[in-house]
Symmetry: C2
Subunit: 326 residues, 2 copies
């Protein structure tokens, strides 16, 4: 798939592969202008914006399937858009391409982007291409949200519920399997590796935005992101046995793999949502989630005592903050 040398010109990449991603939207000028116009359908919405990057050897490896890399760059950004309570609108893509990138790679990468765009209904507005010694992808995403709404990450009250969507730790276990730190049977392996290579954003955000006080996606690990949300104001009491784990994760934890639940609490790349909301909205939140087939778990509550506390005793030293920057 990957050749030693490429002969890709900027025009070829744009005309043959990127133009199909603009969905013929007028403001994109079919990528024949240096800029684009961003238009919303009417005046009842405002734009949310977020920017996130992924880099070779940090967030993925050069040998990874380009489909997985397309999945990652969209998920890291869509996840922020959903956590802002917004619906995806459009995006910009900056590609820093090393020589090993060939047409097959671009073809596979852009086909996967198109698939994801169709699923969540957003289009490519524009971007930039550069040469680089490592593959780096930088993307800016736009979403829209009712102009009277605003989602904060650190606004909540004492005794508010703390929720998490999806399962914690699947992606981390997938990475450890790829690093050969965990061994398991072939079918279970595939489950976890897929979770790691093809993380999905949780689109519950915009559906639940009226019921919540704060929301954030889990990109740096549950504990790290929750700590950011608490912002030194209040604390959280977490019920360890309420932490949502997949059936496969429970098997791995039981199989003496040297892996403990503590190791999963701050694993990056889960992309679930942490939601903090008033207890009085508990039923509404559960019914919206169930109606939309989203697994949601109430894992604890906001307490006065600062920091993160657990109802079970275990060694906090095992929880290390995950930092994409270090």
């Amino acid at each position: 798939m990957i050749s030693k040398k490429n002969n890709l010109s900027e025009k070829l990449i744009i005309n043959k592969y990127l133009k199909k991603l603009n969905f013929n939207k007028k403001g994109t000028f079919n990528f024949e202008n240096d800029g684009a116009y961003l238009e919303l359908k009417n005046n009842n919405y405002k734009l949310t914006v977020t920017t996130d990057n992924i880099s070779e050897n940090i967030d993925f490896f050069s040998k990874d399937d380009p489909k997985s890399i397309a999945q990652k760059i969209t998920t890291v950004n869509l996840s922020d858009i959903f956590a802002m309570g917004a619906v995806p609108h459009s995006y910009l893509l900056s590609l820093f391409l090393p020589n090993y990138i060939n047409e097959n790679w671009i073809n596979s990468f852009t086909n996967q982007l198109k698939k994801i765009q169709n699923k969540y209904r957003f289009y490519l507005i524009g971007g930039d291409l550069s040469k680089s010694n490592k593959l780096i992808i930088s993307s800016t995403f736009f979403g829209f949200i009712n102009k009277n709404l605003e989602v904060f990450q650190n606004k909540f009250k004492l005794n508010d519920d703390i929720w998490v969507t999806g399962n914690i730790g699947d992606s981390k276990i997938g990475l450890e399997i790829l690093k050969k730190n965990i061994s398991t049977n072939s079918k279970t392996k595939q489950y976890f590796i897929k979770k790691y290579l093809y993380p999905k954003p949780h689109d519950l955000g915009p559906l639940i935005v009226n019921q919540i006080n704060s929301m954030k996606d889990i990109s740096d690990g549950l504990i790290g992101d929750l700590t950011d949300m608490l912002n030194g104001k209040y604390g959280a009491l977490i019920n360890l046995n309420k932490i949502p784990l997949s059936v496969n994760t429970k098997k791995i934890l039981n199989n003496k793999n040297n892996l403990k639940i503590e190791n999963l609490l701050n694993a990056g790349d889960d992309y679930g949502l942490i939601i903090i909301s008033s207890q009085k909205n508990r039923n509404k939140i559960m019914s919206i989630s169930s109606r939309n087939n989203v697994k949601i778990s109430c894992i604890g509550k906001i307490i006065r005592e600062k920091g993160i506390h657990f109802d079970s005793h275990f060694d906090m030293k095992n929880i290390k903050k995950f930092d994409h920057f270090s």
Copy 2:
């Protein structure tokens, strides 16, 4: 200035250096959210968006003054915003930082950004920080434009005037001086090196938007960018002696430096505007430019014969298309 090792955390960079750039705008959440809101003052405007990147060893060198690098990342983007006929609104900044970047570097870089933001009145909405082996800066800029206006790059008529703002080639000569391919006296050297290290965007765009048919900034060289605008539809007849040159460039050309005017016609990084407009607006365009102290030169006109033609004979082989991607 540059140390072997840094100990910069993401939080330190954000809190100590980047927060001063958000100008306390509400939608930025003071960089404490993963996303931001983009709001325009009223409904009479639409947003324009552009994204451009600069990379170490391609667009600048690691030893360059961080002030110069700040100037370059803003100019490449502001130049597109002005060419869209828009007024700057805000921007996102993604920094890929190698280990040699220390606090002094960040301090100097962000101080220069603040200066430029104050000059053109725009603020930082958000961004992303990553580690990297080379310094790469990716930025997305927003501008606003009257919602009934739209600036194209390739809409014009036969006999339309072709204009250029500023001078052609100063930046290219600066680069050749740094590469020791051109020698001159110390004062002239400083003039050109400053033009290369501190390129300025041409803010005439939004002032002249009602008088023009097409507009584009010169980032890949006058001939390359004009060819893109012509888009294979019509041709251009250029009066070679109308190409605007600085007094210093004329001296260099006279000094037998092996440099010919042909070498300057496709030099990158001039950042002037190419404007195509109806002859009947000629006086208006000259008076708006003069009122705003912008040098503008009518260098030719649109003709039926495709391609770019000159009124003087010279060797076209010397004109090589500049390509940031190659």
